[in-house]
Amino acid sequence: MKILIRRFDEKSYWQSFEVPVKRGMTVLDALFYIRENIDPTFAFRASCRMGICGSCAVKINGKPRLACETQISKFKEIKVEPLDNFRVIRDLVTEFEGFFVKHKKVKPYLIAEADYENPVEQLQTPQELKRYYIFSLCIKCGACVSVCPASATLEGYLGPAALVAAYRFNADSRDKGKEERLKIASESIGVWRCHSAMECSEVCPKQIEPAKAVQLLRRASLR
């Protein structure tokens, strides 16, 4: 199968590779084949190979997907590009530092009054868990940010991934940092920048509905 890859080394260019296809082969397998057998200088990011780490998110035939979860047999021809809205470092490797800076900004951790000398189990009912569980599945692959028109037009915008993290902890019954997080999320670079294009929910490989999290945060910030 012909695989067309948009490479980047000081300037961007397309390069075509011929890859032998096996049953069950993923796009990530094809990328590894290219690096191991055709061009050892070809750069891409990957780690777990099973849709958990989010490292291998790339644009495949125009849509952001996890390369490790995309079967090659789904397509007749494959075009692989780096994610949009991220600075390309080399080939398919993009700069994620800014993404994680924004992620940290929303305090994506449980803020609770814990006595570590005398620890007490923090109980939660299944209903309370259900309120945020789906949003806790985010793997920070950046697919949502790469299709977000607000992220494309304003670099400082927190973006759907960071706002999902903010909502995930705000919806947690054990958390005591709701006000702090809402203050950050409702700044000018926060929830009000979302244009409700819904593209983030469409491309999320974990189907976690980032657009819904942003709107629920908006609603909470108005209270």
């Binding site: 949009d84 494309a152 244009h195 294009a197 469409e202 709107q215």
Partner: protein, 120 residues
């Protein structure tokens, strides 16, 4: 990528987002043109002669497209309001289909009413 990012999406939601912006710009442009045109008509005779020209079956296609822009922009805006209030995110495909169906219905109905009102 900036404003060009409006035009890169291929999903139905991305298309709706793109058309919302395009129709918004068309409506804004039309409003400015409409106000400038009416303001420029200083005499009753000139007003009547020029409106007789523009409010006619020759211009119907433009009026019809304007109705399409207005109905789409309004109904798609309502769809976005529903989602922005935090409702029906899981049913967003059905909501989009309903809004597009209502747009087509409103466009046909509006165009029919306008066409019959224009007379001969």
């Amino acid at each position: 990528m900036g404003v060009l990012s409006w035009f890169k999406y291929r999903s139905p939601f991305g298309m709706a987002f793109m058309f919302q912006r395009i129709t918004g710009l068309i409506l804004l442009f039309y409003l400015c043109l409409h106000l400038a045109y009416l303001t420029s008509l200083q005499s009753r005779d000139l007003y009547e002669s020029l409106t007789a020209l523009t409010v006619s079956k020759q211009f119907f296609i433009f009026d019809s497209l304007l109705i399409l822009c207005g109905v789409f922009h309004g109904l798609n805006g309502l769809r976005i309001v529903v989602h922005e209030l935090g409702f029906a995110h899981e049913k967003r495909k059905a909501v989009l289909v309903i809004s597009v169906a209502l747009t087509i219905l409103g466009w046909i109905l509006g165009s029919y009413i306008l066409y019959t009102a224009l007379g001969d």
